[in-house]
Amino acid sequence: MGWITSSWAFLVWTWEMGILQPIGVFLAIMAGLWASGRWSPWGSMRFLCRRLEWMALTLLIVFSISFFLMRSIPGGPFDRDKNIDPAIKARIEAKYGLDRPIGEQYLRSLADTLRGDLGPSYKNRDYDVVDIIAEGFPKSASLGVVALIFALTLGITAGMVSAVRRGGWLDTTLMVFATIGIALPNFVIASILILFLVILVPMFPAATWGDFRHLILPAFCLGAPFAAYVARLTRTGMLDVLTQDYIRTARAKGVGELRVLTAHALKGGLLPVVSFLGPAIAGILTGSLVVEKIFQIPGLGTHFVQAAINRDYTLSMGCVLLYTTLVYLMNLLVDVGYTVLDPRVELD
């Protein structure tokens, strides 16, 4: 029964943080395309099944490598600066099954994971890993969504403007900003923003989780490098597309310049952005250690690093599996998205 409740819980979070809705919208678009006869799911079905098989295999490999890697580094989850009496520590470890042979631990852990039970966190002993992910993921994800919207809006607009005004002062300025955005680490942007918008002019709260105002600065810091990347990718993509024959055809047919750009060129110009977005979305949704630390966001980002430092085997495994799944799913969406944006691409 465990897996039913946990997958239901998973659906609820994905809904709450607004991941499920876009997936739903996406499916609706596909259904619409299918109905209008522009796309058929049957060819894709085989593709999807194969991809899911690969995903299961990838998850198994990632699980196994992480499992043995974590246990091969020195130290254990119950090491403290004040040493616990070895006999007492042995009994605590026995309670969590850490005294069993490694092979048995592996199989048990694998079986539990397949049932959707990621076990208790070893460091935060009042919590199960599933609870920690359930509390943290929605927060990281909603921060990520805001950051993503910001990154896409700003990035695509800047990239398009740059491409159209290629070589002009606007292009140069925007691309200088984009380069700075890529080069400047998060924490520098964050420090500058905090200095000006929190300490000097108290417009935003310094940190912690609360209402929408708490999201703005961290979302900006999280999204800035992505915005810069998206801008550069859009520019490259647009420049490439604008020289294509079909654009010339459109212009020759007397289509207005704005329409050429938005209706004809943008679709093709966004292809590089879309392939970048898959892994980027997975990364942005699962949170960032730096931004979450600076703004004290109780999300997931911190756990990726902290769980490893604490030798919190179970929590660390939960994070790794979640991230793998997300990366895989997002890449899958990207591949499907490609076929919509570019009719020449076929799934196989």
């Binding site: 020195p74 616990i84 009496d85 009042d126 994800a141 969504v145 310094a206 004290q296 109780p298």
Partner: protein, 547 residues
């Protein structure tokens, strides 16, 4: 054309839904600010007194639960808690606690001696003893019960509850600091009726029941713990804070930002690079803290040459004498830390510890030359200083590296390891010299000194001295407090002669506290029970514009 428009509409809807989803995750998380907010600097490991060992956990548990006694906010001497009063037998072995009859759990059940008996029995459970079980080794038969298992019946352990309101503890030997343990958080009572019902799940916020001055209202992981005044608390009339927020901000800079923008009223630590600035402020007053920063020397080094070398006390003395402790506290730690010339920090009542000589380069060089001559060593091997990855530890190690290399001609390498690896290296004696620190659990030299008995769980140096072990044992049996302190002094003298550890500095507290927070007193253990804390609202209104 129409299809395009439709698709644009869909895209717009997509964005709207994304926004809506983001907003949905945020909704319902806005809270009114608590009357008092402090930053505990980390998410606590657990609410279960049996499981926890850390300072941050202590801060939270002192709000949620109450032991036999409470620490006095200034002196930390035990003042009545669940026990109204207590008697000590003439031989100092039997403590009888008289519990008050109006103490209640937050679910209304009375707090009785059975709860303490149950908590201590659970604490000493031979199948699954508490992390801190050894703290009760002073109780008769406790160790025999939970560890040696030569006593199998808990009734033979020196803890009894003759009636509902009487709790009796019989010690194996007179222990002057035993009363301090009555307000040590791992020994707090647990609600038997709740623990038995929910097992390990009893600490979940929906089940949790406490008996402290505050009641758990909400716990959001890595976000905040919200407490409200416990109206059932026997001394509720004297608890003045209505609500408390406990934040787990681990980044000191973020913590400072929160303090400066008025979100946090008490910040428990500060980023060390701004300490000189902060010291100009009236609300930052570092005070002596019962903690020592020192280097361990591995006396069982696997490298035989190194083992012979550092195995010579004269060589260790030379290492000690060449360290410029003054420079370290002045140019690196900067908060007013005191250079240490002993292991036990000053500030423990009744204990006047021994002191090593100050820095002396000439003497240090002479000792090194002597050792080299006696051991027929021409070329000194490279010693490695191991520290856990942290900016301050690195800077200190660098200073010492330079001093040893320049003044004594000892080639020194420094090496950092992340926390878990560092702990393992230290425990397995896989190091030459290793950074270490110790914060006292109770205000008595014993909490520092018994660490270095042969085979002690936190010895981690391979130091083994029968004389030293004998002195610590003897002090444990001594009934006259003054004489006991003299024995402990002799033990520390011996430790400082043998020098398995090289003292560097004594810690200071780094609390930032708003001026309108009253009832908050500096003390050596840095314990500030919120039961006694209150806000001067008039002063707060007047001064809240200040940063």
């Amino acid at each position: 054309m129409r299809r395009d428009r439709n698709r644009n509409l869909l895209a717009l809807g997509f964005v709207a839904v994304l926004l809506g989803g983001g907003a949905a995750a945020l909704s319902g998380t806005t809270d009114e600010k608590a009357q008092f907010t402090f930053n505990n600097a980390t998410e606590v490991e657990s609410f279960d007194p049996k499981v926890v060992t850390g300072v941050p956990e202590g801060r939270v548990l002192r709000c949620l639960l109450e032991g036999l006694a409470n620490p006095h906010p200034e002196t930390l001497r035990p003042v009545p808690g669940v026990a109204e009063s207590w008697d000590v037998s003439d031989d100092g072995l039997v403590y009888t606690f008289h519990l008050r009859q109006d103490a209640r759990w937050t679910d209304g059940e009375p707090v009785t001696s059975a709860d303490f008996l149950y908590a201590w029995k659970r604490f000493l459970d031979p199948e699954e003893p508490a992390t801190y079980a050894y703290i009760l080794d002073v109780v008769k038969n406790a160790k025999a019960y939970y560890q040696d298992k030569t006593v199998t019946d808990f009734a033979e352990v020196g803890v009894r509850a003759p009636d509902e309101w009487t709790f009796v503890v019989e010690l194996a030997a007179s222990t002057p600091y035993f009363l301090d343990l009555t307000h040590f958080y791992p020994l707090y009572p647990v609600p038997r009726h709740v623990v038995e019902k929910y097992g390990d799940e009893w600490i979940r916020p929906e089940h949790f029941v406490g008996n402290g001055a505050f009641k758990l209202e909400e716990r959001r992981f890595r976000d905040r713990v919200r407490l409200v005044k416990n109206v059932l608390y026997w001394d509720a009339a004297n608890v003045r804070l209505e609500s408390v927020d406990i934040l787990p901000v681990d980044d000191h800079v973020t913590g400072l930002n929160l303090y400066l923008t008025g979100v946090v009223d008490w910040e428990t630590d500060v980023p060390h690079h701004v300490i000189p600035e902060l010291k100009k402020r009236a609300d930052f007053k570092p005070k002596p803290y019962l903690g020592s920063y020192f280097y361990r020397v591995n006396l069982q080094n696997k490298d035989l040459l190194k083992r012979r070398l550092v195995g010579d006390p004269r060589f260790r003395k030379a290492l000690y004498l060449a360290m410029d402790r003054q420079a370290i506290v002045e140019s690196i730690t900067k908060a007013g830390e005191v250079p240490a010339r002993s292991l036990v920090p000053p500030g423990i009542d009744g204990y006047d510890g021994p002191m090593l000589p100050d820095r002396n380069l000439e003497e240090a060089r002479r000792l090194v030359a002597e050792v080299k001559r006696d051991l027929h060593v021409d070329k000194l091997p490279t010693l490695t200083i191991l520290y856990n990855t942290h900016e301050t530890h690195r800077q200190i190690a660098e200073v010492i590296q330079v001093q040893w290399a320049k003044e004594l001609g000892i080639p020194v390498k420094i090496e950092n390891q992340e926390w878990g690896t560092y702990l393992t290296s230290q425990r397995q004696l896989d190091y030459d010299i290793c950074r270490a620190a110790w914060i006292g659990d109770y205000a008595d030299p014993n909490t520092f000194l018994d660490m270095f008995v042969t085979g002690g769980g936190n010895n981690n140096t391979g130091y083994a001295s029968e004389d030293y072990d004998g002195l610590i044992r003897k002090a444990g049996k001594e009934r006259d407090p003054a004489e006991r302190m003299r024995i402990l002094r002799r033990a520390e003298e011996l430790l400082l002669t043998d020098l398995p550890v090289l003292p560097i500095y004594y810690y200071v507290t780094k609390n930032l506290v708003r001026p309108w927070v009253k009832g908050f007193h500096p003390n050596v253990q840095n314990i500030h029970p919120l039961k006694f804390v209150w806000i001067d609202e008039a002063e707060k209104r007047e001064r809240s514009g200040e940063r």
